[in-house]
Symmetry: C2
Subunit: 163 residues, 2 copies
């Protein structure tokens, strides 16, 4: 297929200059996870009131959640992270090199990231999802990604993200 | 979030002028299926050597396949469509108003489409996928959509589509 130059407007599509530190970490993490054969979406809602930074889906349906923390305050002000554990097989933190990783709780994974790439420093322990919940999460992931990709390949299409 | 203007290159991202008749039908079908709460991807590969025009995923994991035919020749030259039946719960043809629909085989659904919208004229009969195959298809769908959406939200990311 030929290369086509496309100019369009998309709500909420940030570029480097407008991205927050946590979003830049997420970018590096998502790039890296592809090397593990995991595909990703950002800001998925597993349940009302919860929104995860990254949900990653592995080649055998593995569900990982990664929360990105740009600084100590970003971490200490997060009162919701415990609620994410029940929605994934493995839970990770992603932080930059300067982050005081001693703060991070046991029983979680650790990814060191920058805006370009990342590395899994400590694999998260696995707590396998029940089959029914995994099905729900893969379905949510698929719908999240497909609606956004649809809006890109057909800019005349508009949709609410309320899934 | 604010509106951001984004200029980038994407392989194979056609605009109206470059889209083929079948692709324009697919656009209308994909728009319409959202009103049935189905999300879609195009040109998914269920198995080597097969590529479906549209795979649609319903709210309860239903898998529909839609093949778009722009004219009689487009239909009669398709020797592969029988192979798609085993990969979906329901199989549809999408054609324009001028298409001689008497040609289309029994036991399939019919969608009349144009480039802007579509309508399901005849619901396809249901032949439910086995659980294991449905799981494979939802997983393929999720990976297809996520990789493409990833390349859009991070233009610096490049990936092979070979899934």
């Amino acid at each position: 297929m030929s290369t086509v130059y496309l100019l369009f407007t998309l709500e909420g599509m940030p570029d480097d200059l407008q991205m927050k530190p946590g979003q830049l970490l997420a970018r590096g993490v998502c790039r890296h996870l592809v090397s593990h054969d995991f595909v990703t979406v950002e800001e998925l809602t597993p349940a009302p009131g919860l929104r995860v930074d990254i949900m990653a889906l592995g080649p055998r349906g593995e569900v990982w959640i990664v929360e990105c923390k740009s600084c100590r305050t970003d971490f200490t002000s997060d009162g919701k992270w415990h609620n994410y554990l029940e929605w994934c097989d493995r839970y990770f933190w992603a932080v930059d090199e300067a982050f005081p990783t001693d703060l991070l709780p046991d029983g979680t994974g650790l990814i060191i990231a920058d805006q370009y790439d990342a590395e899994i420093i400590r694999m998260a322990p696995e707590t396998k999802l029940a089959g029914a919940r995994r099905k729900v999460m893969v379905q949510k992931f698929a719908r999240h990604a497909a609606l956004r990709w649809h809006a890109v390949r057909d800019p005349g299409f508009s949709v609410s993200w309320g899934l």
